[in-house]
């Protein structure tokens, strides 16, 4: 919902979200360094710089896992929607944690020498043909470069400039970055770590990310089995009472975009399920302040015309609905984006002709 650009598009909720995540991140780093200092003493003592490098590295990995899990978790249960809101800021925070990790490591291990610290990343003591000597830092560098691309293009300007489709494709590179991060840890920290905790946590994290994506994918797949014929003149999509008040519900139509149905006040409205912002699932959202609100980033639309409230300009397609008796009927042909449609209300004289099969 953009009428003008600012450095960071904060609102009250996003500021609270960011402050909480920042506070938790700093608490984690401080706790990690303090705990490690207390546990490892005398001969086993580890320098504060190395502990800071590890703390920020682990923090970045934890944040990356959270970011990767947020999407599928939200698809599995709407209860997780609040953590999806502002995910981009979390991504930028994760990039800075990774950047601090890389910067400290580069300074600590490579600075103040004759050779460039960057040169040591690639050659020096490394052995490209051995597992234990493989230059794991390069994997980290590749991951950091990808995360830089994503963080630097996270502003809403880039979404508009690149178009949502290209922007989304670019940001799918997070999975490649994740693969590089896993290799970075496997060829790096795991080669010298004797305690199984790190390996266990890494495997558990990867399995969790993978499993959540599979489960949410299966959940997405189920409704499309119930898809109905798009060429039917009117499609019966259920009883009026099947649609909860002020909550969205998704209807699948064969070979077409899904439709988001909203029951608000006395009427029922139908909109495209695809948010104009980042193609978020509007039907998984709800009515907030009289507007359909996308669960991903809070973009809003009037239910009766698919238009964002002024001064915002986003528009999405609308659909015709009518109610016969207690049945809700949908015309599967979408109207052009922003077309006003009167919400369907209960009719006193129901008729049953033209109704497509369910």
């Amino acid at each position: 919902m953009t009428v003008s650009y600012t450095w960071v598009q904060w609102n009250k909720h996003k500021k609270i979200y960011d402050l909480i995540m920042l506070a938790l991140s700093l608490i984690f780093v401080a706790t990690f360094i303090l705990t490690s200092t207390l546990v490892y003493k005398d001969d086993e003592a580890i320098s504060a710089m190395i502990l800071a490098i590890r703390a920020f590295g682990i923090l970045a990995i934890i944040l990356l896992h959270i970011i990767l899990c947020i999407g599928p978790l939200t698809r599995i249960t709407p209860l997780m929607s609040p953590i999806l809101y502002n995910r981009r800021h979390l991504g930028v925070m994760m990039f800075f944690a990774a950047l601090i990790h890389a910067g400290l490591a580069l300074l600590f291990y490579g600075a103040f020498g004759v050779r460039s610290p960057f040169a040591g990343l690639f050659d020096g003591y490394h052995a490209y043909t051995s597992i234990s000597g493989f230059p794991f830092e390069i994997m980290g560098l590749f991951a950091l470069l990808i995360l830089f691309v994503m963080a630097s293009t996270s502003h809403d300007f880039w979404l508009a400039f690149l178009t949502p489709c290209l922007w989304k494709s670019l940001h799918m590179l997070v999975y490649l970055a994740y693969a590089f991060v896993l290799l970075h840890v496997v060829f790096g920290a795991l080669q010298s770590e004797r305690h199984p905790a790190l390996a266990t946590a890494l495997i558990a994290g990867a399995v969790t990310v993978f499993a959540l994506h599979i489960v949410s994918g299966l959940k997405e797949f189920k409704p499309s089995l119930q898809a109905q014929e798009a060429d039917a003149p009117w499609i019966d999509i259920g009883l009026v009472n099947d649609f909860p008040m002020d909550q969205g519900r998704v209807v699948c139509i064969a070979n077409q975009e899904r439709v988001a149905i909203f029951r608000h006040n006395d009427g029922i409205s139908a909109l495209s399920n695809v948010c104009a912002h980042q193609a978020g699932p509007l039907g998984e959202g709800r009515i907030v302040n009289g507007c359909v609100t996308c669960p991903w980033h809070g973009y809003q639309y009037h239910a009766d015309n698919g238009q964002s409230p002024p001064p915002y300009t986003e528009r999405i397609p609308t659909y015709e609905l009518r109610i016969e008796g207690e049945r809700v009927l949908l015309n599967p042909q979408p109207n052009p984006p922003g077309t006003p449609v009167t919400p369907a209300v209960r009719s006193s004289e129901p008729s049953s002709d033209e109704v497509g099969e369910t």
Binding site: V3, W7, D123, V149, S152, F157, F161, L170
Partner: protein
């Protein structure tokens, strides 16, 4: 390895790794030049919302331009053509 001739920022220029680093540095250098032109002048002609934003705000787009400047160049050209034809 071709000896230890240190030619570029302490990197032996003859190794594949150093060539990669030099290319990476050149990519970011070119991106910085293009990015500066883009956020100061170019962006105003293709994005009306960005045109209304002060320069200090438009500089937030500089890192993004540096990171994906080939895509920016392509879209910049496309949008300029579309704008002039309409």
């Amino acid at each position: 390895m071709m000896g230890s001739c240190v030619l570029y920022c302490g990197i032996d220029i003859m190794t594949p790794a150093s060539i990669f680093l030099i290319l990476l540095g050149m990519y970011f250098a070119v991106g910085t030049v293009i990015g500066l032109v883009f956020v100061i002048i170019g962006i105003r002609k293709i994005d009306p919302v960005a045109a209304g934003a002060p320069l200090r705000v438009r500089f937030i787009f500089l890192p993004g331009t540096i990171s994906i400047w080939p895509i920016v160049l392509y879209l910049w050209r496309t949008k300029l053509k579309a704008g002039s034809s309409s």
